[in-house]
Subunit: 107 residues, 2 copies
């Protein structure tokens, strides 16, 4: 199992569910998301992915963690605006690879 | 609250935690991820974001859901390879906007 580094103390003890994350994003940014619209949200998500790529290439672990969070937050905003659930989106990965159906992918 | 459409039946009842997702990705794709390396994983993530953008522009809700899942899965793979936790990555969003600190962003 990969060594997991926790650089940010969670502000609460409970693990975050994908549905929780999406709900929190909707509460915090829902109005702004609706006003901005889907295409602009895709543009923002793309910008954040670029920042993540840069952090991965030449940034610190702390910067990488920050950008991972931003990308995930924007992905949740986009899902919400599309009326779709991130929880459902990953359901097909629940039992191993959705293509070869192995618990360790053999594609 | 946005209308959430569930197009994919979850194969189990329990909600998925971010840490669970990351662990499942590591179990399923960890060996391939390690062999591929981080830069190639960033390239894949970028490719998937492009597919998501296309699905958002001209695809069905089902296609959008599929691509949301792929982006999230690749993001989890990347986090795992970096030795970082997606759970920690979003912790700073736990209590509203991390910049203005409002439960409804006023930035």
């Amino acid at each position: 199992m990969a060594n997991t580094v926790s650089l940010v103390k969670t502000s609460y003890g409970a693990p975050m569910e994908l549905a929780d994350l999406q709900r929190r994003m909707a509460d915090t940014y829902g109005e702004r998301d609706q006003a901005r619209g889907v295409p602009a949200t895709v543009a923002w998500l793309t910008e954040e992915l670029g920042e993540l790529a840069q952090a991965v290439r030449k940034g610190s672990s702390e910067e990488q963690l920050h950008e991972l969070g931003d990308v995930l937050a924007w992905l949740a905003s986009l899902a919400e605006q599309l009326g779709l659930s991130l929880e459902d989106a990953v359901a097909r990965y629940a039992d191993g690879c959705p293509i070869c159906h192995q618990s360790r992918c053999r594609c």
